[in-house]
């Protein structure tokens, strides 16, 4: 037997093991790129973090910042600024809090009131998803509407004041704000890429390490969790969805969703089941998703243009309508 062949036969088992190990690693490595994932709970929903280039330390810093935000804005936390303002009509707040309220008031104004953080009393009346959900009497709704309107919030040098009966509620913007807080926490760290999801709001940070852009799935309104109606291929940015298919109740055959129209006091009905908005900040994406759901497709277009935002509208008939800027980024699922 030539020497080379003898050597080959001696080498064969090692070569076989090497090749098989390489195959297994090849199969696993692309799926498990260096990333750190964890889940926490904040803003009344799951907070999912996927970090590329970072780890537990950065994740904990993000979670702490989002929880600090929640402690400031949640009306359900007694010590929060929001709870204090709601209870006492006014409270001294941090400068950050005043900026958040200013931003919310600005979005409210630019959406013609379709997004509004002063719906706390009205939301409590309906309590959709709560233990006391019901269809309030028209007089009750009319009375609750007397205590709404962002323009009545007084933002002073050190404090914020609201009229008697008004209740602040950040529910339609809070998860987007959580994404903004995550963005701020990530900036300047070693984390180069990340996906942070606070409920239905998502921060896409940096470039996807696989180099192909981020893929964001849009939940199918009529199907089980994880069944997608479409996907978006996006660069870094913020994405939020508002829909009527998760939180609702049915009375006398009629469906009442949790997104209330500030103009009528009743759940919004514009032939839509969901709106997904891509915007420059998390707060804008979240608030605009609600505003567009309230406004309907036609009236939303000028608002989206004002914010340089894009959207995908899903109608009750199952039609999927993207705005111009998302047309070539949208893939409809079969």
């Amino acid at each position: 037997m030539p020497k080379n062949r003898a050597f080959l036969y001696k080498l064969a088992p090692a070569l076989a093991v090497f090749l098989l190990a390489a195959v297994v690693l090849w199969d696993l490595l692309p799926r498990q790129a260096a990333r750190y994932t964890t889940t926490s709970f904040a803003m009344g929903s799951a907070l999912n973090l996927t970090l590329y280039g970072g780890g537990e330390e950065e994740a904990n810093a993000i979670i702490a910042d989002v929880q600090a935000l929640e402690e400031a804005i949640s009306p359900n936390i007694a010590a929060s600024y929001t709870a204090q303002i709601n209870q006492n009509g006014a409270a001294e707040t941090s400068e950050d809090y005043r900026k958040w309220v200013e931003n919310a008031v600005d979005i409210s104004r630019r959406t013609g009131g379709a997004f509004d953080i002063t719906l706390g009393a009205l939301s409590a009346l309906w309590d959709i998803g709560g233990e006391n959900q019901r269809v309030p009497a028209p007089k009750e709704i009319e009375a609750a509407l007397q205590h709404t309107g962002s323009e009545y919030i007084e933002i002073q040098e050190n404090q914020i004041a609201i009229p008697a009966g008004m209740r602040l509620d950040f529910g339609a913007i809070g998860k987007g704000m959580a994404c903004d807080a995550a963005y701020a926490a990530l900036t300047g760290t070693d984390v180069k890429s990340a996906v942070i999801a606070s409920g239905g709001s998502v921060l896409l940070y940096g470039e996807n390490p696989d180099g192909e852009g981020w893929t964001v799935g849009i939940q199918h309104p009529g199907k089980e969790t994880g069944e997608l109606i479409a996907t978006l291929s996006l660069d870094a940015g913020f994405v939020s969805t508002s829909g009527n298919y998760q939180k609702y109740f049915i009375r006398d055959g009629r469906r009442y969703c949790h997104i209330l129209d500030p103009a009528t006091g009743y759940p919004a009905e514009n032939g839509l089941t969901g709106v997904t908005v891509v915007a420059r900040t998390g707060a804008e994406s979240d608030a605009l998703a609600t505003a567009c759901f309230v406004l309907g497709y036609e009236k939303s277009l000028s608002v989206l243009a004002d914010f340089h935002a894009e959207a995908v509208f899903i109608t009750e008939d199952g039609e999927i309508i993207p705005t111009e800027g998302l047309r070539d980024k949208l893939t409809i699922q079969e």
């Binding site: 090749l19 996927t50 239905g200 964001v216």
Partner: protein, 124 residues
């Protein structure tokens, strides 16, 4: 002097090794699944972590008043003491990234995995 180091049976040996490697790759892709692991979080802390592939039958777990069924097919919230029942309506979680959130009970049931075609995030 024989200039050809490798003869027919040597090539057969090498070919056999390569073929085995290719078959193993195909088997991993076809039958390896997406490595589904069910994670159950309570108050933001990981309470349970179960590899679906390790199960031969379904298993029920209760966390914060939320009854979760984990099976080789995935996981679902069977019942919850919460008023809105959004978590129950989420149905069977069977794809990587699928999630059922019980906000009132502060419970998150999440399917993690390694599926390459899973989106980076889902908005709902």
């Amino acid at each position: 002097m024989n200039r050809t180091c490798f003869q027919k049976r040597d090539w057969l040996l090498l070919g056999g090794i390569l073929l085995t490697a290719l078959l193993l790759t195909a088997a991993l892709r076809l039958f390896g699944g997406d490595g589904r692991v069910v994670e159950i979080y309570a108050d933001g802390q990981l309470a349970e972590q179960i590899d679906c592939r390790s199960l031969t039958d379904s298993r029920q777990i209760e966390v914060n008043g939320v009854q979760v069924e984990v099976s080789p097919a995935g996981a679902r919230v069977l019942s919850s003491v919460c008023p809105d029942q959004v978590c129950v309506a989420a149905g069977l979680l069977q794809h990587s990234g699928d999630m059922a959130v019980c906000a009132p009970q502060r419970v998150v049931v999440k399917l993690t995995g390694t599926a390459e075609d899973a989106p980076d995030a889902v908005v709902y």
